[in-house]
């Protein structure tokens, strides 16, 4: 009997050793499993417009702190303007104005882009002068006609607020610092991904689009809109000259510095009138349109873009279909990230 037990122990030990030496023996290659969902997701990921999925890996405390900061007028010079003043989360992530109103009623120089899905943009601002959301925070905070403040004031004010000081101490080792304010706000902005738009659900095979929107999507591809407006954000991942088939600025007149685009950043002639291609997500909610906020309706935008960027004059039916398609791009914030009131 004892002999058998002994043998068992030896064999068990050898097996353990073998397993230890060769992990593959207990972890056989997984069989390739194909189900419908993964097939769909593989296809749509390879397509020109992948659907959006909720953000992952964010620190909830930092996001919450960033949300408070985002809605905090105390960050501005006069204590009246917050980020949310111009980027209303509940109404498309912008303010619906042609130009935003900053501290002391000052008017901005350019149309406020939406903050929704801004995290997907390869750069920030119309001219793409910064790469990260963190860097972007410096812009409005310090701009004289936006929040008109500076970091020492912002940090001092936050230090004076017990609840902010405690929150920062909970989330960051070094408490209230400019970097941590930037990081908290950027984290919040990264959480602002709109999901489950009708078009995304269509892409995932969960629903169908109206025949008009379907035709619009087809025209979107055929006309070549999709050459620039592609990717998850349907735009926001390259620069492009505005006015390839006509001089928009000459036609519009009254050229301002804000119209120069990348030229303001690089001072190179080749970059004149070059802008970041904006995302078309939620475009139905972000009027007025273009960097100058000069167009109020989607049909105007579609016609303008077709004229200057594609050199075509679209029939009304195409315009209607394209607008229908654009309207299907409106998503919603994940349910647990309800907009702050």
């Amino acid at each position: 009997m004892s002999r058998i037990i002994e043998l068992g122990i030896v064999v068990g030990g050898l097996l353990t050793l073998a397993v230890y030496l060769d992990p593959a023996s207990i972890d056989p290659p997984k069989a390739q499993r194909h189900d419908r969902d993964s097939r769909v997701s593989e296809r749509v990921e390879r397509g020109p417009i992948p659907p959006l999925s909720p953000p992952v890996g964010l620190d909830p405390e930092r996001v919450a702190l960033g949300e408070r900061l985002f809605h905090e007028p105390g960050l501005s010079r006069d204590g009246k303007i917050s980020c949310a003043s111009c980027h209303d989360i509940a109404s498309g992530g912008d303010d619906g104005r042609r130009r935003s109103i900053g501290v002391g009623g000052a008017e901005g120089e350019i149309n406020a882009p939406t903050v929704l899905n801004a995290a997907l943009g390869f750069r920030q601002f119309w001219d793409g002068r910064v790469e990260t959301l963190e860097e972007q925070v410096d812009g409005p905070i310090g701009h004289k006609s936006e929040m008109g403040s500076d970091w020492p004031s912002v940090v001092a004010w936050l230090q004076s607020q017990d609840s902010y000081r405690k929150s920062f101490e909970n989330s960051y080792d070094d408490g209230v610092t400019p970097d941590n304010v930037r990081n908290a706000i950027a984290n919040y902005e990264r959480s602002l991904i709109t999901v489950d738009s009708p078009f995304d659900r269509f892409l995932r095979g969960e629903r169908s689009l109206s025949s008009s929107a379907m035709r619009g999507y087809q025209r979107f591809i055929e006309l070549g809109c999709i050459s620039c407006h592609q990717g998850r954000a349907i735009g926001g991942n390259l620069f492009q000259r505005f006015g390839l088939f006509g001089d928009y600025f000459e036609d519009r007149g009254d050229v301002t510095e804000a119209d120069l685009g990348r030229f303001a950043v690089t001072q190179k002639e080749i970059d004149r009138y070059v802008f970041k291609v904006p995302s078309l997500r939620n475009i139905a909610r972000t009027a007025p349109y273009l960097h100058d906020g000069s167009l109020e309706s989607l049909s105007e935008v579609v016609r303008t873009m077709a004229h200057y960027q594609l050199g075509v004059r679209l029939p009304d039916r195409d315009v209607d279909d394209l607008v229908a398609f654009l309207e299907s791009l409106t998503g919603e914030l994940p349910r647990e990230r309800l907009p702050h009131k």
């Binding site: 070549g224 050459s227 990717g231 991942n237 390259l238 620069f239």
Partner: protein, 709 residues
């Protein structure tokens, strides 16, 4: 002395040195490890850059050739690339790349250029894609036009060439050709159309075809140029060079860290060894100290025991002494009482006088021994170095003891060597004292048999003279021999009672021999006899022949004690002034002097003596009857002592011989007396033989009748 401290500091120094070495090796090893770590970190940054660059290039190619439908992947790659560049740029600021700063700056600049090219490429690629999609529409319209016009084959082929030249995306094949193939195709088409139907040349469709053909070609060239800026910027070479350099450097740093660690281990091992050795040394010295302590303690115990023993011996000695002194005193006083009674017979008187005399002598011997010993122990006994005939010294001793031996019925012999030196340098008095002591001891402890006094002269280098006294007496126990010459011991306390003696004789003799530069040795067997050997260096440094070796002969020199042995007293004539304050001594000494035919005047003290000698003064009493032939002067007197008186007399120019009488038996008194002006001195109690010698020396002899002292 120098080796001692260095030995003491060797181990601590070694420990300190090794500790310093350890610290150094540790620091070096850490530094090398730090280098290796830093190099690894640099490598990881470069790896990241390298990977981002590769992904970026691949994404760009995908995009250009239609394998990717959107720019998100390029953007992701672009982000990675740009963040790697940022890391590189910020690490450049922290000084991590001090050695490679130039290369890194070049790299960062190249990366920035690549970023610009990438943006151009993206814009151009988007437009190119539209143009390429739009161009076939334009071409098909022209094709329709040509078909409607029933164009010839040449035109159709030319159109085909235009389409192919415009849409061919194989940039590699036509690199550097620019728009030439398209231009050529368009020229051919235009020529063909003109030949076929010239009015078509101005048709919208053909003009649009020409425009779009040039446009799409230019856009393709734009995109390809930008793509080349992305994929062919020489980032690879720079990165590769740096990576190779870093790999080499990290290998070096790792090797160096390993080496330093080896040194560290070695030095730590050495440190351990040194510590262990220090510990052992400490332990050993601790042991040594405790051993030394034990030795010291045992020595202290031994010394204490010795001291106790000495103290006991002293007490014993004192007890002995008091007994020894009281016994003769008792006899003296007793017989003196017998004489005072006046009832004793003539025989009894003789016996009493004889007893008193004998006991007094014995008492004196005791006192002399004690004084000698105390002098020796106080280090105040000096020995003289006089030119002495050794034969005389030995013969005198023999002669002095001969009678004693005869009385005891012992065979007493003197044996000479073949040759004796005529003179040696030594102290005759002390020599005599030692020999007397040894011989009298031998006689005392020998009841029958013989006592042999044998002289040996070893004509060696120092010319050692040995006198051996051998007896057939009671002998000495072997265990007593080591303490035989110690003061205050006699071989056996009981022997004191049996044989008398102070027990100091041998101690005194041994000390004296030592002072004379010799040694005293003893061989003895209990019940058989003893042999004492005194060997002293004679101080004969000159050749012995020069010292006058000769065969000793009896009577070669007159014996100093011949008067006493002959009992002959010469009669003198003259006037002696006796200066003495003691009544008894005045009577005794003046009687002895008168017995030798001398006229004696007595002065009570130094003052009276001066008055008597120098005249003038009334205090001379019966001494005022000068002139005097000799002055015998006590040194210790009231009113004026002998030293003062002697020097005053000499100062007055009087040359009368003065012989001092002093009780000061200690060495140096003689010199003091001489210094005061005395010619000679005798000690109290006055030995009549010595007194007689003095009289012989300083007074002229007169034909005398013999008298018995």
């Amino acid at each position: 002395m120098n080796a001692q401290p260095s030995a003491r500091w060797r181990t601590p120094s070694a420990v300190l040195l090794l500790a310093a070495g350890t610290a150094l090796a540790w620091v070096m090893s850490n530094r090398a490890a730090g280098h290796a770590e830093q190099t690894l970190r640099q490598q990881s940054v470069l790896e990241r850059m390298w990977r981002a660059d590769a992904v970026l290039s691949a994404s760009v190619l995908d995009l250009r050739h239609g394998h990717a439908l959107h720019f998100d992947e390029v953007v992701t790659a672009q982000r990675d690339f740009s963040s790697a560049t940022d890391v590189l740029r910020s690490s450049l600021e922290t000084g991590v790349w001090e050695r490679d700063a130039d290369a890194i700056e070049k790299l960062v600049a190249a990366a920035a250029n690549k970023g610009i090219s990438l943006e151009r490429f993206k814009s151009a690629a988007a437009i190119l894609r539209n143009s390429q999609r739009y161009f076939p529409l334009v071409a098909s319209k022209v094709a329709g036009l040509l078909a409607r016009a029933r164009a010839d084959a040449r035109s159709a082929e030319a159109l085909q060439s235009v389409v192919i030249a415009s849409l061919d995306s194989s940039s590699m094949r036509r690199r550097g050709e620019g728009t030439r193939p398209v231009d050529a195709a368009l020229t051919e088409l235009r020529a063909a159309v003109r030949e076929f139907r010239a009015e078509l040349l101005t048709s919208d469709e053909l003009l649009e075809l020409e425009r779009q053909s040039r446009l799409v070609t230019r856009r393709r060239l734009d995109a390809d140029q930008a793509m080349a800026g992305v994929t062919q910027t020489r980032l690879d070479d720079l990165l590769q060079d740096l990576r190779c350099e870093l790999i080499e450097r990290s290998a070096t740093a790792a090797a160096s860290a390993k080496r330093h660690r080896g040194v560290l281990i070695f030095v730590v091992f050495g440190l351990l060894l040194a510590l262990v050795s220090a510990w052992l040394r400490l332990k050993r010295s601790h042991t040594e100290i405790s051993e030394a302590n034990e030795q010291l303690e045992s020595r202290i115990q031994a010394r204490t025991a010795e001291l106790e023993k000495a103290s006991r011996a002293k007490s014993e000695f004192l007890a002995n002494m008091s007994d020894e002194i009281r016994t003769p005193m008792n006899a003296i006083l007793g017989y003196a009482d017998v004489l005072r009674d006046g009832e004793a017979s003539a025989d009894e008187v003789d016996h009493a006088v004889e007893s008193i005399h004998r006991n007094c002598k014995f008492l004196l011997a005791i006192i002399n021994d004690i004084l000698d010993l105390s002098k020796i122990e106080a280090g105040r006994m000096n020995v003289e170095r006089l030119e002495v005939d050794p034969t005389d010294v030995v013969r005198n001793v023999f002669k002095m003891m001969e009678q004693n031996a005869a009385q005891r019925g012992l065979d007493f012999q003197l044996i000479w060597p073949a040759k004796m030196p005529a003179k040696v340098y030594t102290d005759p008095t002390r020599w005599t004292q030692v020999l007397m002591n040894l011989v009298s001891n031998a006689l005392k402890f020998t009841e029958s048999g013989s006592v042999i006094l044998r002289v040996d002269f070893d004509a060696g280098e120092a010319g050692a003279l040995a006198v051996i006294v051998r007896d057939t007496g009671i002998g000495i126990e072997e265990s007593r021999i080591p303490t035989l010459f110690d003061a205050f011991t006699q071989a056996d306390a009981s022997t004191t009672r049996r044989f008398g003696g102070t027990g100091l004789g041998l101690a005194v003799s041994a000390r004296i021999v030592e002072l004379l530069g010799g040694e005293i040795r003893v061989r003895s067997e209990l019940g058989v006899g003893s042999e004492f050997e005194v060997r002293v260096a004679t101080g004969l440094t000159a050749p012995l022949e020069a010292a006058g070796l000769r065969a000793p002969k009896d009577g070669a020199a007159p014996a100093p004690g011949s008067e006493s042995s002959s009992h002959a007293l010469r009669q003198h004539s003259g006037h002696v002034l006796l200066v003495e304050d003691g009544r008894d001594n005045q009577i005794l000494i003046s009687r002895a002097l008168r017995k030798r035919g001398l006229q004696v005047s007595i002065a009570e003290n130094g003052q009276e003596a001066c008055d008597a000698l120098l005249g003038g003064g009334d205090s001379c009493g019966d001494a005022c009857g000068g002139p005097f032939d000799l002055v015998l002067m006590d040194m210790q007197m009231p009113t004026m002592d002998g030293y003062t008186a002697a020097s005053r007399v000499r100062n007055a120019g009087l040359r009368t011989p003065i012989v001092a009488i002093t009780a000061h038996a200690l060495e140096g008194d003689r010199q003091r007396c001489i210094d005061a002006g005395c010619d000679d001195y005798i000690t109290k109690p006055v030995d009549w033989r010595v007194l007689n010698r003095m009289l012989d020396r300083y007074l002229s002899a007169s034909p005398a009748k013999a008298a018995i002292s």
